[in-house]
């Protein structure tokens, strides 16, 4: 789950990482009011994607009136596909230097990794390798002081400088927050030096969805479409796509391969739906109902049972067909665990299932074209 900048900054503040003075506004009046206290201000669109500065999502104001006007222009605008519902109004900083600091997860080394650079402010992927310090952190011991000293040394900072001491504190606190909040990413770009103070001028925070059960105090941010949300409530992964063949498969890889094969034969999948992970027949029945909501031309169910059982799938299908009249064709491919039982259940309702994935996919594409 990605957080808006203002939410990330309020978490930083809680953990003792300095952030600029400011507050979030939902109306131009609020933005003007906040600016009264700040003098001059930066008005930043709150959207869940980067690159908003270049896209015109950040404005400057020297008076409350100007701030109101800037907020009015930004609020309601669409930037990079995201609608701006809030702006963050902050003090203007006297920036001397921009740094980059982030902690994320390194899949290869299987540990947290700290990434820092003296070339902050731009996309980290555009910064030359020699300006980047990467440090894997032992998850069992944590961000030990010696590790922080190594980072400071590799960055070429002066150990005696006041700003270096502040930087070291921020590294330690950022790691604390990263671990305590089950974060997947905590990124400060830029981390600025302004008037001798090191301050997080931006905040990108992503929290692990799997840890929500133990992070109950954290806010929830909705990034999903209506149908995606309903699927999430069922515990299923769903992604909306553009096409007309509704797809239910099991397993993320299999679901992706199902989309690939439909496209290969010239079909257009309407969605990605992974009904795997041992979902029962009740959940699957509701998943099929969900697919119908988008009014596809064909439904394609592609199941290779493992932990998912074919009889559960068959029961789900017959349950939905028994409850409502479905006027579009349903193409079923069903093999794997409890396959015979599943086929028997389908046959009792005069339904049949394919054995081979590509034959079933070809049929689904053919029916969608009719």
């Amino acid at each position: 789950m990605k957080y808006f900048e203002y939410m990330g900054k309020s978490l930083f503040k809680e953990y003792g990482i300095p952030v600029p003075d400011g507050a979030v506004a939902e109306t131009p009046d609020e933005a003007a009011e906040i600016t009264k206290k700040l003098g001059s201000a930066v008005i930043k669109s709150q959207i869940l994607t980067g690159g908003r500065g270049k896209a015109g999502g950040v404005k400057f104001a020297d008076s409350p009136e100007e701030a109101g006007k800037a907020a009015e222009e930004l609020l309601g605008q669409e930037i990079k596909g995201y609608k701006v519902e809030r702006v963050l109004v902050e003090e203007k900083l006297n920036i001397e230097k921009e740094l980059y600091l982030a902690i994320t997860i390194d899949s290869t080394k299987k540990s947290p990794v700290l990434i820092a650079s003296t070339k902050g402010g731009m996309d980290i992927e555009e910064v030359p390798e020699e300006y980047i310090v990467k440090k894997n952190i032992d998850v069992l011991t944590g961000m030990e002081p010696f590790v922080i000293r190594e980072i400071v040394s590799e960055l070429g900072f002066d150990f005696k400088a006041e700003t270096s001491k502040q930087f070291m504190k921020i590294v330690s606190k950022l790691y604390q927050a990263f671990r305590a909040l089950d974060a997947e990413l905590m990124e400060i770009n830029p981390l600025v030096i302004a008037d001798g103070q090191v301050i997080a001028a931006d905040a990108k925070v992503t929290i692990d969805d799997c840890a929500r059960y133990r992070q109950k105090d954290l806010p929830y941010v909705e990034e999903k479409t209506v149908i995606e949300k309903k699927a999430a409530e069922l515990g299923l992964a769903y992604v909306e796509l553009e096409g007309d063949i509704a797809v239910m498969a099991n397993g993320a890889g299999m679901s992706m391969a199902t989309l690939d094969i439909l496209q290969y034969y010239g079909g257009k999948p309407a969605n990605f739906l992974d009904a795997g992970g041992g979902a029962g027949s009740e959940t699957m029945a509701r998943a099929i109902e969900l697919l119908l909501e988008k009014k596809p031309r064909v439904i394609f169910i592609n199941i290779f049972g493992g932990i998912t059982r074919c009889d559960d799938v068959a029961n789900a299908i017959t349950q939905v067909l028994g409850q409502q009249k479905i006027e579009i064709p349903v193409v079923i491919r069903l093999v794997g665990t409890n396959e015979e039982e599943g086929r028997r259940i389908l046959e009792a309702q005069s339904l049949s299932a394919y054995n081979l994935m590509h034959e079933a996919a070809q049929k689904a594409v053919e029916l969608a074209r009719k």
Binding site: D208, M256, I307
Partner: protein, 294 residues
């Protein structure tokens, strides 16, 4: 021959009294796996499919010689279960559980390293040395002995591939599911290395997907250090950028881990890449015929 597990491997099931644990303990027994004990805190003394249940892994290990464990406990307790297995000296642990917090997964891997244990998963279907030992949740009837090694990130997709192989007359030596999460124990390279050492594995099928850079690393390894031929299939060609397709592994971000980069890395390493799952046997046939002709 096979890798990681064989006919002598004695297996413990953690979470054996749960719905999945008990069902799959039965399936593993039916496959011929030596499931010798189960653990479920508070259920010690019970039996599941005639398998004795203990309250702790320590208690189970006191009564049985256990080589491997399979974990079915819910995500919130999975880290604890894995650490319990390591502390009792179990050296191979397959974690079936999905949705484990990634911070827990990192701790599991760090502890495994200290204890010298190998972790398969999390969010895996497990591993099977065909005809000898299945530690996982895959459907029994598709895993018949043969000479093809299979290593995959995704579960169901490997059943599909293994099913296609079987249809074409190819059995499997060992099939390993790495798991779909961002942090998993075994990598493609780890498993390829084992297959390379296994005299009975004639060729390997690698099933990858978009996201991360595990396939690219595997390509490097194949190019530099492997003699056994490898054939690949990659899922996610049609996936739109920036969308998370189910598991954390399957996401393309900022142009990294794309289908194109993986496909070209593999082809560059001499690995044929199938467009569709059912084309894998044909590519295998070609590469094996080419080899034999030499």
């Amino acid at each position: 021959m096979a890798i990681y597990v064989d006919g002598d491997t004695q297996v413990l099931v953690q979470g054996i009294t749960g719905k999945q644990g008990s069902f799959h303990a039965g399936q593993m027994l039916a496959y011929g796996t030596k499931v010798v004990a189960g653990v479920s805190p508070g259920k010690g003394g019970q039996k599941v499919h005639d398998i004795p249940v203990y309250d702790t892994v320590q208690a189970a290990c006191a009564e049985h010689s256990i080589h491997a464990s399979i974990i079915f406990v819910p995500a919130a307790f999975a880290k604890d279960a894995a650490l319990e297995a390591f502390h009792s000296g179990i050296k191979l642990v397959a974690v079936i559980t999905e949705h484990i917090p990634v911070h827990d997964a990192m701790e599991i891997m760090a502890q495994a390293k200290i204890h010298g244990a190998t972790v398969v998963g999390p969010n895996t279907y497990g591993l099977v040395s065909s005809g000898l030992c299945k530690i996982g949740i895959m459907p029994n009837n598709f895993f018949k002995p043969g000479k093809i090694g299979v290593v995959a990130r995704s579960g169901t997709l490997s059943y599909e591939i293994v099913g296609n192989l079987l249809e074409a007359g190819y059995g499997t030596s060992t099939v390993v599911g790495l798991g779909g999460d961002r942090i998993v124990g075994l990598s493609f390279v780890d498993v390829l290395q084992e297959f390379e050492k296994d005299a009975e594995t004639e060729a390997i099928v690698m099933v990858g997907e978009i996201g991360g850079n595990a396939e690219e690393e595997a390509a490097e390894f194949i190019k530099s250090s492997m003699d056994t031929p490898v054939v690949a299939y990659l899922a996610g060609k049609s996936a739109p950028e920036g969308k998370r397709m189910g598991h954390a592994g399957a996401i393309i971000e900022r142009g990294k881990g794309t289908f194109a980069s993986k496909e070209s890395a593999l082809k560059n390493a001499g690995v044929p890449v199938a467009d569709l799952p059912f084309e894998v046997p044909k590519l295998l046939e070609e590469i094996l015929t080419g080899r034999r002709g030499k």
